[in-house]
């Protein structure tokens, strides 16, 4: 009995140690963001002893963060909506419709997941440039309006739905569009949630593409803005930490809200491989 209690204590000790290392950067980011500039040279804190909330306001104003936020919000909303709708449509066609070349096309879609992003970077930039989209929301959203991964998620989900409902509707003469929007989509909230959280985190955290297709401060997203801010305020750790906290918060909140769907999405696709 005693040996078991000891064992449990040891397991907790190890896990807590690791969890501390894992969470430590967040703690220091937060305590630093709340420090007055004068306390910066004091030892780092585990729990906030100061509450200099002005740092957030200062960081918010030191660079056009409101504008960065607006840009990231527009881009993220656009990508989430487009990826969810278009991937659901494609996933439905691949799961349910019968047409020549379907499997070939589906493997083509999956194949795009194997093309590393750097390989498509320069030509995609040239296409966007040719379209005159540099420094526009179009450049930020349209090239990422479809996600092969989401198509895969939706297809798997639709294959697991019983087809009787749809068949009955087909017999009644309903078209595919009606069936998709009226019958299938309303049954698909779990996979919509999973796909949306992946799209959200991808879009909110994305850096390289927005860095390349935007030039003016007016079109920068939060991540690009934060990187530039760091370039200017390199050693102002309180302001930098405040800015990093502001930029991280939406991702953490979104993850906490949809944790279950997110982790199910990873483990399902991970193990089906």
């Amino acid at each position: 009995m005693k040996a078991r209690a000891l064992r449990t204590a040891l397991v907790h000790l190890l896990l807590a140690g690791g969890a501390f290392l894992s969470a430590m950067p967040f703690l220091w980011m937060l305590t630093t963001a709340l420090k007055p500039e004068s306390a910066l040279y004091q030892p780092p804190l585990l729990f906030p002893a100061h509450f200099q909330w002005e740092n957030f306001a200062k960081a918010w104003q030191a660079a056009p963060f409101p504008r960065f936020f607006l840009n990231s919000a527009v881009m993220t909303a656009g990508i989430v909506l487009a990826q969810t709708l278009f991937s659901a449509m494609a996933g439905y066609a691949f799961a349910r419709m019968r047409f020549a070349g379907r499997d070939l096309l589906f493997f083509g879609v999956l194949g795009t997941m194997m093309i590393p992003f750097p390989v498509t970077l320069i030509p995609s930039f040239l296409v966007v440039n040719w379209l005159g989209w540099i420094d526009t929301y179009n450049a930020l959203i349209v090239p990422r309006a479809v996600s092969a991964f989401a198509i895969f998620l939706f297809r798997q989900f639709f294959l697991s739905l019983p087809r009787e409902l749809e068949e009955a509707a087909l017999m009644d003469g309903a078209g595919r569009l009606t069936i998709f929007f009226r019958i299938v989509l309303p049954l698909s909230t779990p996979v919509i949630a999973a796909s949306a959280i992946f799209s959200f985190l991808f879009a909110w955290n994305d850096f390289l593409w927005p860095l390349i297709v935007t030039n003016s401060p007016d079109m920068r997203t939060v991540q690009v803005g934060l990187a530039m801010f760091q370039g200017q305020y390199g050693v102002f750790w309180t302001l930098l930490s405040a800015a990093a906290t502001i930029v991280t918060l939406p991702a953490v909140l979104a993850f906490l809200a949809a944790q279950r769907q997110f982790i199910a999405g990873i483990t399902n696709t991970g193990l089906k491989e």
Partner: protein, 308 residues
């Protein structure tokens, strides 16, 4: 991939005609996908191969066909070999360390203990944290005088290096951040796989007198092999493309010490406007990732067919 093939449904669909099937309707459902993936994935993948045969600054109306000269220049460039070496070290380091730590945490978590959900969230948070913000915060943690890392080392009487500006330590520091961001992902996937191993296997082994280590070595590890494989391949593919962390933390420096291929490509393409040369770099990355993917297919065909 078993069981996903559609059963033949009775001839309801035949009113759309046999050869076309449901193409007219399917076309509508697939149009956005085909348009976007075609324009921003398939076409660019081919076009960058084509571009890699030219010398072009992206602005001038003419481009000069140079054949394989960009590749020859690449192979003769010390910068490129350095970049390749740094990339392989980064990818190997992050993949192996995050794999071992992820497995360790998953095994510890795979028992009835309190606070499991809390632990899982704490380990997973770095995965979803924006890389730019992570880079900014870790840069502070690695600050030579004010950073937590060196203050901690000083606390036990050691003098830490000036991590990010020291050529022999900068890459190690970036690897630490890469590992920190990866462990949670591996942990979650391993945990799901561990929960799929039947208890009966362990009970039978216990009856045969196998200790905890033997059980781990002869039951857990072999049954986790397909998962391990999946995690190694995905981690390598991700790590070969690392860019954000390096951009924020070191800008490829000091002295090229963290000049990974992703950053090298970015410099060549977007700082020096050497679009043809940068495309050749991109194709070398493609080849690297393709080799890993092919190795995956080869090896999974050989062994764990029972999984899927």
């Amino acid at each position: 991939m078993n069981g996903v093939r559609l059963q033949k449904t009775p001839s309801k669909a035949s009113r759309w005609g046999r050869t076309l099937g449901e193409w007219p309707a399917a076309l509508f459902f697939l149009l956005p996908t085909v348009a976007v993936l075609g324009t921003f994935n398939f076409y660019p993948a081919l076009y960058s191969l084509y571009l890699s045969l030219f010398e072009w600054n992206g602005l001038s109306p003419t481009r000069e066909f140079v054949g394989l000269a960009n590749y020859a220049r690449l192979l003769a460039s010390g910068e490129f070999w350095n970049s390749l070496r740094v990339t392989l070290l980064y990818a190997g380091g992050v993949t192996l360390l995050a794999l071992a730590l992820g497995l360790g945490v998953a095994v510890l978590l795979n028992q009835p203990i309190r606070g499991q959900a809390v632990y899982r969230v704490l380990y997973f948070l770095p995965v979803i944290t924006p890389t730019v913000a992570s880079g900014v915060v870790w840069k502070y943690l690695f600050d030579p005088t004010q950073g937590v890392v060196n203050r901690g080392l000083a606390g036990v009487g050691l003098e830490g290096p000036s991590w990010l500006s020291d050529p022999s330590w900068a890459l190690a520091a970036v690897v630490v951040v890469g590992v920190w961001k990866r462990v949670g992902f591996n942990m979650v996937v391993y945990l799901a796989a561990l929960q799929g191993i039947p208890r009966a296997y362990y009970e039978a082994a216990q009856l045969d007198g196998a200790g905890p280590w033997q059980q781990f070595r002869h039951i857990t590890l072999p049954l986790l092999a397909p998962t391990t494989f999946f995690l190694v391949v995905t981690a390598l593919i991700d790590a070969f493309q690392v860019f954000d962390l390096v951009y924020v933390m070191t800008s490829g420096g000091p002295l090229g010490g963290t000049d990974v291929l992703g950053y090298y490509l970015y410099r060549q393409g977007f700082r020096y406007s050497e679009l043809g040369f940068a495309s050749a770099v991109a194709y070398v990355m493609f080849a690297l990732i393709f080799a890993v993917t092919v190795a995956q297919f080869r090896l999974t065909r050989g062994g764990g067919q029972g999984e899927g």
